[in-house]
Symmetry: C2
């Protein structure tokens, strides 16, 4: 049976956000938050545009999602993000008590798993959805940046 | 010799921010960022007011400080915060490469040290400045909240 609203579908939406970041010259990471098969928040990395280290895709999406819901806790929500969250974003996800986190590419250097950051005990994690597409976009960005330097 | 601009002086300013949080019914945590003996950013916890788990005092101060400086990195800056940073805030401080972090009260449950969060290798830490005053304000807040429930 065709399932239009699966993890791959929503990760594609997060990838579109990552492409938006790429187009602005930002490290291409994108995120969406979904509840009941509906996207309630989107975000992409804006650290250069806003000159603000806290402006990661996930942080924008958490703030927007909470605002949409009118509450601090992202109950029954799933965050889709193209790159494994860092310490800061995993720490924010911890406070949000989000139900599920799905990420694309792993970050073996600064990802929350390598850094030992704790998500909330309630939070389930799925990794590797469209991992190749997510990391290809990042590699393309850094390759282009190296050519410019 | 009298030193008007020492750690105690700036922690008092962070405590005033914590009092502002208290007066709004927010968990009373406050922060200031200082460079060259000058406060360039202030923040207090606004998680309830903004219904946003990311609205910790330190996050507000980091965003405001970067905006003031016009750059992402908090070089030659010190963050004073009344409570030991959590995973999220320590993760944000990691990205900011801040020169120094000074905190008042320790958080033995959810503080970054207990959680194993890494600050940037460049960042120096001082703890325990006005620790009693910082924790007294927190205890007063939680005691009042228990009486209301």
């Amino acid at each position: 049976m065709l399932e239009p609203f699966d993890d791959t579908y929503f990760m594609q939406k997060a990838l579109q956000e990552a492409q938006n970041a790429f187009d602005r010259g930002e490290i291409p990471v994108g995120a969406v938050i979904v509840t009941d098969n509906r996207i309630i928040a989107k975000g992409h990395n804006l650290t250069e545009t806003l000159t603000d280290v806290t402006a990661h895709a996930e942080m924008q999406a958490i703030t927007a999602g909470s605002s949409f819901l009118g509450g601090k806790y992202l109950k029954d929500c799933t965050l889709y993000v193209t790159l494994e969250p860092c310490q800061m974003c995993a720490g924010a996800l911890y406070w949000s008590q989000i139900t599920r986190v799905v990420f694309g590419a792993s970050d073996d250097h600064r990802g929350y798993r390598k850094m030992g950051t704790q998500l909330h005990p309630k939070t389930q994690v799925t990794k590797g959805i469209l991992a190749t597409e997510c990391s290809d976009l990042l590699n393309q960005f850094f390759a282009a940046r190296r050519r410019l330097n």
